[in-house]
Symmetry: C2
Subunit: 220 residues, 2 copies
DNA sequence: AAGCGGTCTGTGACGAAGTCACCGCCGAAT
DNA sequence: ATTCGGCGGTGACTTCGTCACAGACCGCTT
């Protein structure tokens, strides 16, 4: 039987009545994956519902020409909608999900997942909440790529990636993939930021020197 | 009691066991809305699950500067994910859903919807299938706005909007909103199509004259 | 220490797309 | 018939993506 201590981290699930948690206790399997593990890829069969306990998963799209754009990230407490929907609706997506850090997760086999969905209103609302959040993420991405300037998209992304810290280990190419643009465009924009004293640059490194104007630029 | 004849149109629901259909029979309410009715708008409270029986609903995003982009359309048999998720997760979206034609729909109050979700695996999988389809729609939009040329996006959209017929009643401004571009850009591209003999243009009208090259242009 | 291959970054030139300002035109309402 | 608001056309300019290429940096080998 699995240890369900990790459940305590997730209020939405932890308060589920004893009886409803039974399938969880019986069917949950712990997973540990190193950074760089593929969680979902188009065409791959997928047969489990996945809940991230610790670590980060990057979900992105990749087209035939090699163009890449990051859709969203999953952190602790998030479930992988892609695998869930592929599991339930057997629909194929053109997206990839890859771990960025070592990831600790719980996997529920399809049968266990279905059982929980049938039993627990709380679990259903947890799953729907996740759906809603991902949907909102995608809609935000659409707004950005369709109507926002490169300057604001890049500034915003630098801030969220830095997340408080001031140092990023990332290449221009990766940043371009983050915002769905081209490497040259990102290089030039970063240079502009550097000239203004907002960041300082190194090979594979971006240091935020002055977050305030970046925040302002991210706004519009 | 509502007439459930409409259910026959939807195999996914029609084959639900008698008992599971009970809440549906008891709680479903028929709705008829003229074209132009707002189904979902940010900030509006929404308290019903909506299933389209006949007609079309356009779901689009609108930002502060008036920029507009169509996300997807709902036809017969589709459910409005936006209202469903807003209902379940009380999350606010920046999107609008508006009827384009007179729409005939069924509405389930939240309680009835929750009851069905609890009882029927078939209903759950119907709802999840719809989620998955909308998610795929959004991801396709992202691919297009991020990486596809205006020529291919416009050609593709003209073909799907025409849907077999050769005549469209639509303005350049509306077409721009369809693909998330600017009116001038669409005007110029349409002129180019006209010079090549692919379409002929009139005020508020686009006639497809030669679909084959349009299909080719839509491809890449 | 020197060389080497691969990755990362910088740059100029160009084309595609978005923006701005302004125009004339059509058509419905008065 | 005139007016007025929505529609479409156009030129000038800016921003962004693409292409081609050069140089810099890094880790590795010799």
């Amino acid at each position: 039987m699995s240890n369900l201590d990790w459940l305590k981290q997730f209020p939405a699930l932890a308060t589920m009545p004893e009886g409803e948690r039974a399938p969880l206790a019986g069917g949950a399997m712990a997973m540990n994956a190193p950074a760089g593990t593929t969680v979902y890829a188009p065409g791959e069969p997928c047969n489990a519902f996945i809940l991230v306990i610790d670590g980060a998963v990057r979900v992105y799209q990749l087209d035939a020409d090699g163009n890449e754009i990051v859709l969203y990230r999953l952190g602790p407490g998030s479930i992988c909608i892609l695998t869930t929907l592929a599991l339930l609706a057997s629909d194929a997506y053109s997206a990839f999900a890859v771990t960025e850090t070592p990831v600790h997760a719980m996997a529920l086999p399809a049968a266990t997942f279905n059982d929980l969905m049938a039993r627990s209103a709380q679990f259903r609302s947890f799953v729907f909440g996740a759906q809603a959040a991902r949907m909102a993420d995608l809609m935000a991405v659409i707004q950005n790529v369709a109507f926002a300037s490169i300057e604001s998209r890049l500034a915003a992304r630098l801030l969220t990636l830095a997340g408080g810290g001031g140092e990023l280990s990332i290449t221009h190419q990766q940043l371009a993939a983050e915002i769905g643009s081209a490497r040259e465009v990102v290089s030039r924009q970063l240079k502009a930021f550097e000239r203004r004293g907002w960041v300082s640059l190194g090979r594979g490194r971006v240091e935020l020197r002055n977050a305030a104007p970046l925040r302002a630029a991210a706004g519009h």
